[in-house]
Every structure is written in C-alpha cells, then in structure tokens.
Symmetry: C2
Subunit: 274 residues, 2 copies
C-alpha cells in the first residue's frame, strides 16, 4: 500500500483498496484528505462505497448509501469488509464495516440496483446561479488538507471560521464544487462530494465548537452514464439545516450536475458540542 503513483489522482490514491479476498480489503488514510482531526468523512464514505463497487458479486449501481461514523479513525491502516446481505433479481443490499486495530470505526449500508428507463420527473428546483468561473475560489490556505483537494466557489452561505463574523439568518449554502485536480465524476467522487458541505452550524453561527457527522445518507439519482456526461465540470451543491437541537443538527443537500440534472440528494445528522 505504500507505493504512490504520481499519475494517480489523489482521490483514487486515497480510495485505493487492496483486496484480501471474500469482500475483505485493506486500506489506509490519506494525508491528502486529512481533516482537522482524522480523515475527511467524505473520503471515508468513498472508501466504503468503493469496497462495494470493487466487489466481484456486485449487482447494478448504487442507489442508496448510509454511513455511520461510529468512532474516530486514526491516521494509518484499516480493514474494510463488504458483504452482500441479500441479492434479489434487480436489487442488492450491502453491509460494510471499517475496523481499525480490531475496533469497529464505521458502518455503512447500501443498496445497488439495475435500473431501467421509466417515467421520470424532477421536482426539486435548481437555484439560478452565476457560472463557477465568475466566482472566487474559497481559500484553502491554513485549512485542513482536504479543503485543498476541492475547488469550492460559494454563491451564498460561505462558512465563517474567523470567529468574528455575524450570525446568519439561515444556514443555506449554495456552491460550485469539483475535485482539484479535476477528475471525471463517478460514484466514488460523488459520494465524497456529498459530504463537502461545511457544518451548517458554522454557517449559521460563527462560533467554533467541536462537531462531527454521526450518520449520513446519499440517494443516487444518476447512473454511471449520467455521471460520466458531467466529465470534470464543477457540480452545484445546495445544503440547508432543518433544526439544531440539544447537540444534534441535520441538513439536507442536493447535488446538481453541470448540465442541470439532479445527480444526488444527501442528508446528515451532526453532533455539536454546545
């Protein structure tokens, strides 16, 4: 696992898994996606999903994926086990566990499915926004490494980490996001991007407190062909909290492709200290 390939995208490097047989893999955390403490949760989710994507028994493509961050992950190696809990004719249900030093650190459940064309309709509304090229890139200097791995351009709701800002009326953020360096969109990068939103608490209230995502769910509306059509263009993210209450807040997010398709919706619940 130690050989780094200079031609490999950092996300592919970070989500690389060494198969140990029977749905078991070895992986390791990546300094390129380090967070303030431990790794960026979006890349952990991407590793867990990759354990399903690489599984020889996989049927179809991801439809739903839920990750539960059960405990801290330290820098270093871990093992992943992906198990097809039930395989039906067109759907398959997955259980995935990440262990480090024998201790369970993350669990996930996922559904993959063979899709076919049906009556379809979009109901969510994509906000009208200026193109990414007209917006300033969010500065990554002095921030955790993972933020450098994303080109983020805020239309509204930029997090204020300065501790000197003014509280916002609401927590909604609208931003363009893409991998840096650019990388063609796929399920691995999309699940990581669905956790790219800074904590809503820091948008709403510019006071730094310890926080951590507890559970996060992404529903994939796109298939691999629609993701591939996005190429490496930025996608548009929209996220808003519903409620902050007694140590936990939730948010709901939409991820829109460059051409206006709703690629995924994503929800999470986050612990905060005070």
């Amino acid at each position: 696992m130690q050989d780094l390939n200079p031609d490999m995208h950092p996300l592919d490097e970070a989500t690389r898994l060494e198969p140990l047989g029977a749905g078991l893999y070895r992986g390791e955390t990546s300094p390129a996606y380090a967070n303030m403490v431990g790794p960026f949760g979006g890349v952990i989710a991407a590793k867990l999903l990759n354990a399903v994507l690489l599984h020889p028994e996989r049927l179809g493509e991801p439809v739903a994926f839920t990750v539960n961050y059960a405990g801290p992950i330290a820098d270093g190696e871990f093992t992943l086990e992906a198990r097809a809990a039930r395989t039906n004719r067109s759907t398959q249900h997955w259980l995935i566990e990440l262990k480090q030093n024998g201790l369970l650190a993350t669990t996930a459940t996922g559904v993959t499915a063979k899709r076919r064309e049906t009556w379809s309709a979009l109901e969510a509304r994509r906000p009208d926004v200026p193109p990414a090229g007209e917006l300033r890139r969010f500065p990554s200097v002095g921030r955790p490494a993972w933020i450098e791995r994303y080109d983020l351009r805020f239309v509204k709701g930029e997090s204020d980490f300065s501790r000197t800002g003014v509280p916002s009326e609401d927590s909604e953020s609208v931003l363009w996001a893409r991998d840096d360096p650019p990388r063609p969109l796929d399920f691995v990068s999309l699940v990581a991007l669905s956790d790219v939103f800074f904590p809503r608490l820091f948008v709403r209230r510019p006071v730094f407190v310890p926080i951590g995502t507890v559970s996060f769910t992404t529903y994939f509306h796109a298939d691999s062909a629609l993701l591939a059509a996005n190429g490496d263009a930025p996608i548009l993210g929209v996220a808003r909290a519903q409620q902050f209450r007694n140590g936990y807040f939730d948010h709901s997010a939409e991820l829109w492709g460059a051409h206006g398709a709703l690629l995924a919706t994503s929800h999470q619940i986050v612990y905060y200290k005070e």
Copy 2:
C-alpha cells in the same frame, strides 16, 4: 406470542418482541398493520427500533435510524437481532437484522445518544394549516388494514388511488396523522408515523404501479420528554419528492408536534415499476 391482550394498543401488540437473550428477539407480523402485500413498512421499522429500545445495554435515546427493506416479509414469525456495534461515552451505534426462515429480510442501523441542552434553533418552517378537527378523515374503507390504524386528515396532496384522477403539479402532501385508537407519542409510534406518507408517485401521478420503499432514514430531533408532551394529539406531516428517475424516487418529510416543535425529519428512496 399468540395471546392477544384486548387492553393493549394494536401498535404495542404489533411491536411486541419476545426476548430470546443477547439482543435476540422473536416477533411476528400483525394483521392490524397489514399492507397490500406483507406488512406496513413503518411498523417493521418500529419493531426494529424496539429491539434497540428494549436492549439492556442501550445508551441514551434514538437520534438516527435507517431501515433497508432487503426482501419481502411474509405473514408470520421472524427473529430480530440488535447488536451494539460500538459504544462511546455519549453515543452508541446499532446494527439490527430481521430474518425470516433464515433469510435476511430487513437491516437497520441506528444511533442512540445521551443529549444535553445546547444552543438550539429551528430553521424549517411549519406550514400554516387548519386544525385537524376541521378536516375530513381520509376514508380507510376498502384499503389495506394499516390505513385504518391511522387517523389521517389531508390539508393537501391526498393520494388518488382511483386511477381516474388528474396528475398533480407537485407531489407535496401536508396532513395530520395520529394513531387510531389514540396513543401517547413515543419513539416507536414516531418512527412508524415517519413512514405514513403514501408514495409520492401516487400523489404526482394517479396511476397505480408496483412500488416499495428500499431505504428509509429518520432523524429524531425530539427526546422522550418532548414526545410525551405531545400526548395523543395528532402530528403534522409534510412530505415532498425531489426526483422520480428510472425506477426510483426519493422524498423528504418533516414531522411536526401538536405544539409546533419539529420532532423528526425523514427521508426515503422508493422503487417503482414504470
């Protein structure tokens, strides 16, 4: 498991579990909550959550709960196993499996936590609606048994099962819901109520096709005291789809208490045939 107690609420009867030791339980489906095919998914979710609530090692109260309907459940007995996958100082992560005839039918993951008072803020907006008493009860005659177990009063977005209706502009439903007979609100009834919304597809498009929830997640914003304060008053549900695409649609829902508190937010992804 065969003795029915005439004084027991049908939901308590339906979610009754017989402990077999070490997080293992025996349960059975309830005719009172039968759906068109198999049992109402909300009551299956309530049974799975109850396996956590009854577990002697449980820490705190539910914060997040995800249920994956992996396969059909036939009328009759099943076993449930709830396992505390990781216990931290103030949070605990659960894995729950429902098996019938040795075959895995449903999986769930959950987070329970000890909460404490913090800065709190509500961001979602409760719609302005007439009180439940001013609205007509949704007729349950000729419908699956579980619909009789809920007093549902629609403000908007009533499902049209007649196959003769007119397509709607959007899929949003707003409705009052409570157990029938009335029952004080708790986590068991709230998780069932979070699946009480008819499929958004049938609101949007009055054409009957086979559908089935694949995965469903509820975030609990309320603790048991706030639920108890609701008593047996109806709660207000709001649900809307984001997208219907190639066999799957998602919806997001809010569950508001009688006194205006946001008790839970809930999301699901649903298979549909065409």
